[in-house]
Symmetry: D2
Subunit: 154 residues, 4 copies
């Protein structure tokens, strides 16, 4: 398991990978004593935000550049419950490609034992805020991706 950003390469289909740690809040649990199933989609959000930041592109900048990145589909599978105060490691992965559709997958592990808690996937789509329609990724995104590839970090 990789705790930081990482790129595994087969030439032009490189994979970006980044791990984020989240501690389970009391608010995240339900009366079953486990993290509520819908909460994992919020953890996925944090993980992809931090992955984008790690390779040079805070999501907030994408919005400032006039783009939105709404979620088109999302899924999760749950293998074991996480409990209050657990330290979770959420790893997000995506292809280092500047495409309109952004497919990101996730794994959630208990950091202490490395046990798999859940896995998931989301598809996001670049849209222009002006038109509301799908569009190519913004120039800043493509540059960040290219820069990242050059320095071999992804």
């Amino acid at each position: 398991m990789h705790q930081e950003e990482h790129a595994s390469a087969t030439d032009n289909r490189r994979t970006i990978e980044h791990a984020t740690h989240i501690r389970v809040r009391y608010a995240d649990t339900d009366q079953m004593g486990l993290v509520y199933y819908g909460k994992y989609f919020e953890y996925f959000e944090v993980a992809r935000t931090e992955m984008l930041r790690a390779f040079g592109l805070p999501y907030a900048e994408i919005e400032r550049a006039g783009y939105g990145l709404p979620v088109r589909d999302a899924s999760a599978r749950y293998f074991r419950g996480a409990t209050y105060d657990d330290l979770l490691r959420i790893t997000a992965r995506m292809k280092a490609e500047a495409t309109t559709r952004l497919e990101i997958s996730y794994t959630v592990h208990l950091d202490a034992t490395n046990e798999l808690v859940a896995e998931g996937a989301t598809t996001l789509v670049f849209v222009s805020k002006a038109t509301g329609r799908p569009t190519k990724p913004p120039e800043i995104y493509r540059q960040a991706l290219e820069e990242c590839t050059k320095v071999l970090k992804c």
Copy 2:
């Protein structure tokens, strides 16, 4: 306890009152088996939205008219826990006055037994979206309030 909008009058300081029912979701509970303390502020939001709607003014219209209504302060006291699937009755109350500051108080009861679960208060302030500054309530709000007073519903 009044289940619907209601006005008790001492001439120009009338009180508007409105009760809304909310069923506790699994997502609302925490591992203590009770509704998470921060969740009540969301219940208060629902109750004040329904109170405004009941006397003729959906909050969405206030926003469309160019106004915001941010919360300035909020508080709650908790008397007993509410549990999953409980039907709660949230009663919101405010003075029928068109002032910049909107002071709303709330009580939360278990509907089945009438037991008091919690009480709370919020202060909201009308702001102009253009300037971001506090302002008099919009004309539509003052008219709704006046209309409401005329027909003696509040």
Copy 3:
């Protein structure tokens, strides 16, 4: 679209269907001005709770009988955003079978226009609270299902 519980039958694979209405809270929206993508899983929870209640079995009773019903997987597809104060109609559907795995699908419509907002699916598994292991559904569940089938409501 059916607003209430409903059963379409091809002998022993009957489908139960139930619609629940949920009004979008301010808390449910994000800065994109739309309902946050993870929130729909909470709406799904409400819809399946109300479906179970509609055919005679509140979920709380399942827990009291010593069973849990954790979610094993969940997914959603988003077709258009829902906004603050929208009235949504969430329809849940499942086969009227007393199996260990409970597969429920959902559709979310804007009630005013009947436009499709999202669809989704969850798999839940009956587990014994004592052992934590998957198990046959509780007797009360099988009886409720049988009763429901007899009276032709499902």
Copy 4:
């Protein structure tokens, strides 16, 4: 402002203080583009959990010792909105006393500019899980507090 645990002393009424950083999630914002007012109570939870951990007592241990620590009252005042991706610094403060009622106050600052975003307070009460009634703090809590005082960390 202190970024770490800190104790200011006037003999036996010492104050414990601890700061925690939280980055605002997209899920935390609402359509006003700001953090939803009820969300701050979740931030307060994180801050007090980390404060207790910092002086040697994870809250999870309090529960394992057979105690609960429900919130009796909570309040917040909002001075300016926080936005998506802001790094917030939540400082929690309490008296270093082993009393049944735990009064904790909070301030929320934008970490980058040190601007005050919000302040708040909560009262929690030690209860025995066995009886559900208020009780003296558990021995482990009193020892942690005493230890902490000895080594002058609080």
